[in-house]
Symmetry: C2
Subunit: 307 residues, 2 copies
Amino acid sequence: MAEFSIIEQYFKQARLYQNNVVLGICDDSAIVSPPPDHELVICTDTLVDGRHFPTTTAAHAIGWKSVAVNLSDLAAMGAIPHSILLAITLPNIDHAWLKNFSQGIFDCCAPYGVDLIGGDTTQGPHLTISVTALGWVKRGQAITRKGACVGDYIVVSGQLGDAAFGLQHLGHPLQHRLDYPSPRCLLGQQIQGFASSMIDLSDGLIQDLKHILNASQVGARLNLEKLPIDTALQQLPSAQQWQYALAGGDDYELCFTISQNNYQQLIQQKLATPLHIIGCIEEPVGLRLYDQEKQKYLDLNGYQHFA
Amino acid sequence: MAEFSIIEQYFKQARLYQNNVVLGICDDSAIVSPPPDHELVICTDTLVDGRHFPTTTAAHAIGWKSVAVNLSDLAAMGAIPHSILLAITLPNIDHAWLKNFSQGIFDCCAPYGVDLIGGDTTQGPHLTISVTALGWVKRGQAITRKGACVGDYIVVSGQLGDAAFGLQHLGHPLQHRLDYPSPRCLLGQQIQGFASSMIDLSDGLIQDLKHILNASQVGARLNLEKLPIDTALQQLPSAQQWQYALAGGDDYELCFTISQNNYQQLIQQKLATPLHIIGCIEEPVGLRLYDQEKQKYLDLNGYQHFA
């Protein structure tokens, strides 16, 4: 079966492209017309079978997650998601798998109005999926990792550690959070204009927050008792809870810094996802952990990309 | 070693980004400011070790080719290349390999003023590289596969079949054309405004030209004696020459259709790459092959993406 039949059968979306997609899947490249006074926000993330998801993961979930992790990177800039390109390497043609996988792609795209506008389908020995996501942000309004100020709150959305717990307990309801992360696209746009810096949590809070601290040249204090943790995890000893919530990875929640004034204004809105203040930015560099006002020294590490 | 050290060490380019790269490698996404009155042209192509290049290929050539095949897709739209994102899956960290590979990436980007603005570095069992390339084209000026008209010349750039011959004769000077394809970016921009349709040749002339014929709903006649073929290939029996030139793949030359008037105007310019008229567009659908006015029926097929 030719690449072209696979694309025609599984990856051409049924619905019409958005107005500013000039050319979608059908040519050497796709063409997009930029909206006036906006900047293009673009990222790419790869999922490798057995490394970024268990080999047993359902095809639909793999499709969903491939899109979600990329939309999460757009959300972390405060961008409006627009479209994706899909580069997939398949060991073989399995029609049932492709049907479910492509449905997962489209199901994650649809709520955000995201179009699949291009890609490449190749054969190779190991299932590997690279999605490139495009979004738009008003000129100069993107939220980067740089800009956290002393005195800012550190805020996270949703819950932490769910996916890591789900990975260790396949079959538990929290596996859904591992398989079907929710990119916080709407929340990211709501935060725009308020936050001083932002990142999405993919490698675990500690590792990801350190990117903000390094880029912004500041330090931070985290209050461990404020971490938003699922009731299932709350049954565990503290050290295990913290391992999941601080270093588990795959959360795809947003972590941002915000002045106390801006925070009060932000929460006047009806927000897309619940927020939790978990610490504050301090002048001395480094990250300090406290549990009920008592400093803790934990031996934690986030996700390691190369074992 | 963390992903972040690899990026820092090998994939942060030494030279400054172009003016309209607002944010390069350092955050969740890259940010690009679109030039006024232009459309974004975007594509992605994957190279899998042992499938899209021989496993013995030098790291520098793999880096070069990963970029070149994508710039070729931009060239086929008449776009001005701008930047790339690199998603690479590595079996392990080999510093010598990474140094040469990244140098190959940058060496292919540099002549076209292309910046490496983002990407993802992951570990997986099989070397797989997906590059996404971004370019710009004046609003409404992109050349697509649709638009070939009856009476148009069919024109190709450079030579055909070199890479396929090189693949069968590793060590022969033509291996260079396999390892280091030249994306015809400048030529593509020169052709813009003149050609009625265009495609880049990656799967072999027959298969790729058929995309133009299908999209444009026309037929074509090819004159086999007009195919631009290297002197090394000219020593072979005709059937072998044609196999390489028509179905070998990996040429990364441009194939376009153009009215006879426009062609006369186009060749007044100093062109970046030699052109060859190899046939013409006809009304009856289908592709007919002639050698010295005698019709030939060849059993050829282009590159099959799934064996």
